[in-house]
Symmetry: C2
Subunit: 475 residues, 2 copies
């Protein structure tokens, strides 16, 4: 959009909230000049966000508040009259910021470390300004088609076969829910099979829709053991994971695909985290057999630099997915409904945000090479940390490391002591790690993936771990 | 955040995409300075968004493209090397904008007209910059507690009883899905009952989870007829609607609540659109009996000025909701899990965006009075339009108008002619309306709700309708 002059009031930077000070005849006119608040308050908001990213590494990674602290600092009611946006920004600093666990912090190493690249942040504002709601194709042609195109781009980056359907859900929980619903509709069966390392969302989805779950034992490297799959005659769906949540192990998808094909079961591949790594040729091995899947989920908001939320669901059987979800009532029937893609027919939601805009911005501004460098940086940092652990007799590795997550523990410490160690480390605010239980034993996890993490940040994590372990050993 | 100096490169406004031009050792350093792109490209993005809102009324409301036009204008693959953000902005203008149906356009009158107020747009950027992921309380205390607080604010604005649980889902489809899942878990039954005017998401949710649906006939004013509810002994859930999608009719919630209480069925109230109107005392009647509901959904992204997506789900039986969705695996178990609220235990998703930030910004900057003025403006404009239709013998009203939606048709036109009329009106680009079928007859709908809609915009809609009807009558 070209043009646009500022009024004097805007140039003074006066920040005013909407309607409260208007007092206009409600039946006659609209409120303030459209765009005025963006011009007046926007520069300060931009500066806040830029300063936040520049200085976030000076803040404690894990929020140092107690449950209820934030809630008690906020009023119990919405204000009667509108306030200025400046007060919102001030309270963001004063009240909310201390309660933020900083996912954008370079020393965030918990769960799966994620990042919102700045291109994605800017695109998210544009998406909010456009406020498209993709119900049918015609209510949002650009967002619908860009969603299909960006998903095709990612499919291509990951080497998935051409021509698969792709769309974006909010989270892998929803993508997996959609997959099991489609699997049930396509097979008429109600059993979901996954390994004991599968993400909790599989069990949650099955429970939501009233399907049974059978968990298959994993092998010594935490991979699904296809020999344990057993009889799949009642299986609607087998969920294989490429990059499990605890250890990022990779299930043997080719063997699972064989078993699914023999039994007529739907194969859903959960690659929510590790899918991004497949942009690098050296990790392409982990997607062997995934071309035979019925559905695959890859979260761009995990390792692909895209802000929350952006979970990509790919499907090689789009007509089965559509059959499970399409339900166009008369009041949504439009002349073009037969020709045009309406993504609401492929998943649970009717109204859908313009989520593809941020993904598009990230893919364009980073390119294949930028994503590869980001993945390789994370993997190299995790590999370095792994070597330090391995070389230190006081510590032990607890699982193979295919990607950027290291599972380890202090040797000689009980589970309770390792849990206490994790608490101390996280309470320091210097780093934030998470833990998990493997074969009944508590282990710590260091997950690299934040965009701005440097080697020094990983060194700090190692230093803090050893310092706190030493103090714990003495106490 | 205070401070933050610009580099010379930033001050020249040079816009660079991330990693492509870095060439740094992937194992050693992070990419560019955090915040640099926000400073360099942000002002231009802000200006784009402000100019867009200022000039959107000059664009055709409904995108004037054909299916596939946008897709074909985009490359088939992601770029190899990162590009500048400037090129993304240029392509947004050149390729995507013609494919945008403008929900922010003052003459958007289709479905339910919505708006993203500028406070919400700015807050959405802040949420993306923070990139919080609320899995457990500790991963995002601020977003978790602000979500509870803002939901409590809205509950208070709508006169819901104090102490109800509230959280935010992406869409009413998901909120209703969560409600029926909880209803089944709480009752052990699998029948969902709603009126023939209920939103399609009820049927979609039931189908997803394998529940049956019974549709109850509505009365002459399109309200559920409680006398038709029949035997509810097998009903897990009755869905009553306050503001149906076709006509915004209001089901008799008190009578439905009586029937639910007698039968032990869960009462879910769908107030996705009309819930916002309840901020005005004169519309409080429409929430009579809603205090007896088990769950209520109100979409802040519909009439409450909040950008997509922000669907509020309230529940008077939080322990039943939690019982249906809580499934904390060991690797997510934390020391504070017993004390602190984790909203992922109350709905389908595990990872959740910081959606409450934009709602908070809107509620604070508009206040109760600003929301009331916005609702009253929309209702007054719809009432004016209704009067023009009623006074013109060539036209007829087709349903009562409780809020800001008018159902009408050209008298003497067949269904086919009224459909053709709607097509002509929308193809003009001057306004965008939708249609529906009532009792087998096609009718047009004018939905007022866009923040910047003026009386002149509604006059234009009426002028375009009469002009196109006259031309159609002649042809």
């Amino acid at each position: 959009m070209a043009g646009g002059k500022r009024t004097a009031a805007e140039q003074t930077g006066e920040i005013r909230g909407g309607a409260a000070e208007q007092g206009s005849d409600p039946a006659l006119g609209a409120p303030e000049q459209p765009g005025a608040l963006l011009r007046a308050a926007g520069p300060r908001v931009l500066a806040w966000a830029a300063d936040y990213l520049e200085h976030v590494r000076e803040l404690p990674v894990l929020a140092q508040v107690q449950p209820g602290d934030i809630r008690r600092a906020l009023p119990e009611q919405a204000p009667e009259e509108g306030e200025s946006f400046e007060r919102v920004l001030a309270d963001l600093d004063r009240i909310l910021l201390p309660g933020v666990t900083h996912w954008q912090h370079p020393r965030y190493f918990a769960y799966f470390a994620t990042s919102a690249a700045e291109e994605g942040v800017l695109a998210e504002m544009l998406a909010a300004a456009l406020n498209s709601v993709a119900i049918l194709w015609r209510t949002s042609p650009a967002s619908t088609e860009l969603e299909a195109v960006t998903c095709a781009w990612v499919a291509d980056l990951l080497g998935l076969p051409a021509g698969w359907h792709g769309h974006i859900e909010d989270s892998a929980s929803t993508s997996t829910l959609a997959a099991v619903v489609a699997a049930r509709a396509a097979t008429g069966r109600d059993l979901v099979v996954c390994s004991d390392q599968a993400h909790s969302s599989v069990e949650k989805a099955a429970r939501m829709v009233g399907m049974r779950v059978r968990k298959v034992a994993s092998d010594a490297s935490f991979r699904m053991d296809p020999g344990q799959l057993g009889d799949l005659d009642e299986a609607a769906c087998v969920v294989a994971t490429v990059g499990t949540t605890a250890t990022t192990s990779v299930d043997p998808v080719p063997a699972v695909a064989d078993a699914c094909a023999a039994a007529g079961a739907w194969l859903h591949v959960d690659a929510a985290y590790a899918g991004t790594a497949i942009v690098c040729p050296e990790f392409r091995w982990a997607f062997a057999g995934v071309d035979r899947a019925d559905t695959v989920v890859v979260n761009a908001h995990k390792w692909m630099l895209t802000p929350m939320d952006c979970s990509l669901l790919f499907c090689s059987r789009p007509s089965d997915l559509r059959a499970a979800f399409s339900l166009i009532p008369e009041y949504l029937r439009t002349p073009d409904a037969e020709d045009a893609l309406s993504l609401s027919e492929y998943g649970p939601a009717l109204g859908r945000r313009f989520r593809s805009l941020k993904l598009w911005a990230v893919l364009r501004c980073h390119g294949r090479r930028g994503l590869q460098e980001h993945v390789r940086r994370g993997v190299a940092l995790a590999a370095a940390f792994e070597q330090w652990v391995e070389a230190d007799p006081d510590w032990e590795l607890c699982a193979p490391r295919p990607f950027s997550v290291v599972c380890f523990r202090r040797r000689g410490f009980s589970d309770e002591q390792n849990r206490a160690l994790l608490d101390r480390v996280n309470s320091s605010g210097e780093v934030f790690l998470s833990g998990t239980v493997l074969r009944g034993s508590f282990v710590l996890r260091l997950a690299v993936g934040q965009y701005w993490t440097t080697k020094e940040d990983v060194v700090t994590a190692w230093d803090v771990l050893r310092r706190e372990a030493a103090q714990l050993a003495q106490s």
